[in-house]
Amino acid sequence: MIETIEHLGLGLSVAFTLQNVFFCFLGCLIGTLVGVLPGVGPVATISILLPVTLSLDPTGALIMLAGIYYGAQYGGSTTAILVNIPGEATAVVTAIDGHEMAKKGQAGLALGLAAIGSFIAGTFATIVIAALATPMTKLGLLFGPAEYFSLMIMGLVLAVVLAHGSLVKALAMIVAGVLLSCVGADMETGRERMTFGLPMLIDGIEFVVLAMGIFGFGEIFKNLADPEKRDVMRGKIGRLLPTFGELRQNLGAILRGTGLGSILGVLPGNGAILAPFASYALEKRISDRPQDFGKGVPQAVAGPESANNAGAQTSFIPLLTLGLPPNAVMALMVGAMMIQGIVPGPQVIENSPDLFWGLVASMWIGNLMLVVINLPLIGVWVKLLKVPYRLLFPAIVAFCCIGLFSISNDPAQVMMAGVLGLLGFALYKLQFEAAPLALGFVLGRLLEEKLRQALIISDGSMTTFLTSPLSLGLLLVGAVALIIAVLPSIRRSRDEIFVED
């Protein structure tokens, strides 16, 4: 305990230098600015801004990149709430109820709860990192390929549970997402898989392309298809700061989200990305009005946003302690550290305690800054809403095109996203949910990698997933969640049959 406080004290003394506070502020501001742009998530933002940090010292560079990461994530949530275009996978959940709240004129409340939830989550996650960095290293080491695989299966099952509507359809979307992630060169043999001979598919489908296609272009197509039903809504952004009553109602969701996010983010898998989905599923399951989820429930914004931020932060633990990037953003951070001459791994804490604890402490400062700079700036983001849709959507098309092209300077990515937009429209028409598809896609590649590794280790025996207690436990949790989700569904369909008789 005293050790933890000493560590945080060291970190704060590093992070509170004028220079590092400035880099933190700059990172948060730039990250938010770019993150607000529809379809530009943290991954794109960080890869774009990576060269900017070259001239900085390692601590300043990492602090600024971390700031960009939170900023972009927060900006993405703002866009998700105001415009319903999630810049990345984790904002998908925020878009569901956050945008419904905006439609009801509660955008301010949604944004305020997101900011406050994120700050509480960030504060807690900073303490978690400081206290558990060392012990968590040992827990993470217990995870082999089989446990990774089972963990991801559990996460995907939870995603099925959270999807409203048909379980069969949600399950199909998850499987379709994993299947789409298989497209392209095989990771081991380099053999082309399901590319139909198209050169643009050889490298697989970029997640950003899939997301911008289905969520960006698909949404535009959807809106163009029902123009006569478009209603001009009069709404207020309203108060940003929730009342004490509202805060009390949502505090449970914030704390549960913070806990879930902190735990999931620590696991050396893509745990952080599951956090908002898991939080949404949890809030929906324990809510006394689950039927209202998806129609603008504050808890469905506060919980996932807190989980998102906590998970984003604790996902630094596997990177900083094991040198293992748990997601695409952390993979970019590895690149940034290597450029600065730091090899990520267990030796970082010992060799550069200033950098390690300075970065951890800057996360808390960054979260504070996000609340301070974002809430007053919300008026600027709101201006986006005043633009009529007939001008807003061509602007979104332009930003998406530029963003898609800049991923790899490849026009084929732009075209692919356009075609995927039609897929998104078809999914909407057939009432398939796109969120499980996106999650399946994000986890797909890792899932296959771990499946193969586990089966190589076990000489092809599938029982390896059941003989390891950790793996078995994770699978059981998934199975229980699925059973719980299936039961009311069975009851409901029985009731319907009953009515028909």
């Binding site: 399950l171 272009f217 005043k386 300077n409 732009v414």
Partner: protein, 186 residues
């Protein structure tokens, strides 16, 4: 410091998506739920066919075809389940599919792709026209898809937004996007 934003009333132009009208489809197979199941079956079989050349197992362990094929089979089966489960439901129409209204957006997106870095069609090739041409093309064509389009306004908007985009992405963010190589050399 205050977090209060003035209580301004803003007009938000949010498209509404009421549930599709309960109009029965012309054919029960065109009902939403059955069509969804059918699409899954078609998608699964397509993936099965696309991955049919991949080895299921290799000497070293799992072949590159194991997961895709297993997933394709699962999707096909889920499609069948979807059709069976919803068989007795009253079919609901999926509503209109106004693909013609969406076409301008797609054209805009593809024109952007063809002009931003140039494109070789074989018979003829498009030179590198850069952001100065690709961006307004995308904006104007996409904007033409709106039912309430005002072309004068759209043209001015496209010009202003193009300047902003070039300033933001090329100069502020330093992305190596071509701006107007035919005019200013980069």
């Amino acid at each position: 410091m205050s977090h209060e934003v003035p209580e301004e009333v803003i007009t938000v132009d949010v498209p509404g998506h009421p549930p599709s009208s309960p109009v029965p489809p012309s054919d029960p197979w065109l009902g939403r739920e059955r069509l969804a199941g059918l699409s899954l079956v078609v998608f699964g079989l397509l993936a099965l066919w696309a991955g049919s050349d991949l080895p299921f197992m290799t000497e070293g362990g799992v072949g590159s075809g194991l997961l895709p094929r297993a997933l394709a089979i699962i999707i096909t089966l889920l499609g069948v389940v979807q059709i069976v489960v919803t068989w007795k439901e009253v079919p609901e129409s999926t509503g209109t599919w106004p693909l013609r209204d969406m076409l301008p957006v797609l054209i805009g997106v593809f024109l952007f792709a063809f002009t931003i870095r140039g494109y070789d069609f074989g018979a003829f090739s498009v030179p590198v026209l850069g952001m100065s041409v690709a961006t307004p093309l995308a904006i104007i064509f996409a904007g033409a898809a709106a039912k309430d389009v005002r072309f004068g306004e759209l043209l001015i908007f496209a010009a202003v937004l193009t300047v902003i985009c070039i300033g933001l992405f090329r100069f502020a963010l330093g992305l190596s996007l071509p701006v107007a190589p035919w005019l200013i050399g980069y």
